[in-house]
Amino acid sequence: MELYMSLAIGVLFAVGVYLILSKSLLRIILGTSLITHGIHLLLLTTARLKTGAAPLLGENAESYVDPIPQALILTSIVISFGVTSFFFVLAYKAYQRLGTDDMEELRGQEDE
């Protein structure tokens, strides 16, 4: 199971990196969110995907899955959600003020 997850995560990373290297700002933002998905699945996967009950004591099970990565992922999800929404608004504002979403045209000063 871990092998398939690793392959899926690898594909998410590859597509994310490809999108980040593109010219359009929206594709870049999509790329960052794909990478974030990959990261969260990676956190889940590296903590081993053993079978076990959901981490609720009421389940009265023999074994449970590891609760720590779930807490870490939850934290990381809300953080990346906040950052992504900020990034979207920033892209919107930048489009309004600068009139382009082409990263080539956002290069900056002439002396760079």
Binding site: I39, T46, L72, R97
Partner: protein, 493 residues
Amino acid sequence: MNNLVVLPLLIPLLTAVILIFLSKRVKAQRWISIISVVINIIATVLLVAQVQNDGIQTLFMGGWMPPYGIVFVADMFAVLLVLTTLVVTAACLLYAFRTIGAQREKYYFYPFVQFILAGVVGSFLTGDLFNLFVCFEVMLIASYALIVLGGTKRQLRETIKYVLINIISSSLFVAAMAYLYGVVGTLNMAHLSVRVAEAGQGGILNVIALMFLIVFALKAGLFLFYWLPGSYSVPPTAVTALFGALLTKVGLYAIIRTFTLIFYHDQAFTHNIIAWLAAATMVLGGLGAVAYKDIHRILNYNVVISVGFITFGLAVATKESLDGTVLYLMHDMIAKALMFILGGMIIAAAGTNKLSEMGGLIKRYPLIGWMFFILTLALVGIPPLSGFPGKVLMVRGGISQGDILLTIVAVASSLIVLYSLIRVFIGAFWREDYLLPIRDQKKWHGTAYVSVVGLFILVIVLGLGSEWVYSYAGQAGEVLANPSIYIDAVLKE
């Protein structure tokens, strides 16, 4: 257990929350934010005294013993950096009062500063890797807001790059943490150190160590600094001073902490790479500092050079060079804040940031001119001033370890700093014939001068009183050189 440890984090956090409610009342915001920083400085001074007398102070959140809960650890290194951070923030706030403008002040400038402070202080004090990530994000999200606040075209453009690079590095941080958790199964730094020592660092753990190095190098501007010169030249002076003094130093702190506490077993591998990165950073930063005629760029590349120089102290990794690193880090935070504020004053006075278009300012602004000159000497490391003791310890450590080439690069980088900053001094303050005719004398009011002169006096005092400062920095270097002190303090209580 010592509840004082969390106060430096708690005070700015509560202040920020209060300030959000007072967003339209500028006077109240100013008073509350400066009083909160002053109270925080007092609390931190008490903490420094406790750490000096009783050793490392710890606080187990919620009473959960490590490695199960989150632990806050105040060793001398962290506490000294917290104190320096607070002093620098106080100075930047005082400067901001008169210069930042009512428009920004009404749109949550002061709460953002307090949130940055909370993130920076939290990063220094935490003893848990994931908590370090969260504190990084607190700091970074507040810095995104501060860098774009005002919304000019240049700010929007550079913020996109800054946000993008930091999202990528934060993702890599979580990935590195996922791998590390997968291998050793813990996130508490002291416990990590024990587990890494048990497992024997090599193979996969070296790969993970390098991932952390890449992540923190992106944050600190170590070799991967290409985002820095652009991003740091767009926000107003008070914000740039805050960023230049604090943000890259948090990345440096993380590198130093990780590679002295957790991944210190295979130095032939990791520290060799760190040494190359440090040398490359100094060379590339030096090229940038010499190449540009734009004050923003010159100052920003000077930040890059000093990041390389501080990493050189870590790469050498003797007790002596680590002492020097602590001393130099403190000096650099204060001196860089002063450098950016003075640079901002020069730009404001001349009305341009191009060196070729300004000149003759010494007649009208002698105080700024001479302060900038002496600050230049301090940054280079001329003996009675604050840059000297740290530099000399680091260079001595480098020679005693036989890293001659690296040491030569480090010493040469000082000359580049001298050349680039003296060029700013000569360009801005000499050349009488260039005196700009029409522009009125720009005046800075009380608090702006208080902040500049205060920082300037600190630079002098840190230099003259280096023996006294060393008694603290030596204790910090002790913990960095012997990770077992830190581990015992956290795990065996």
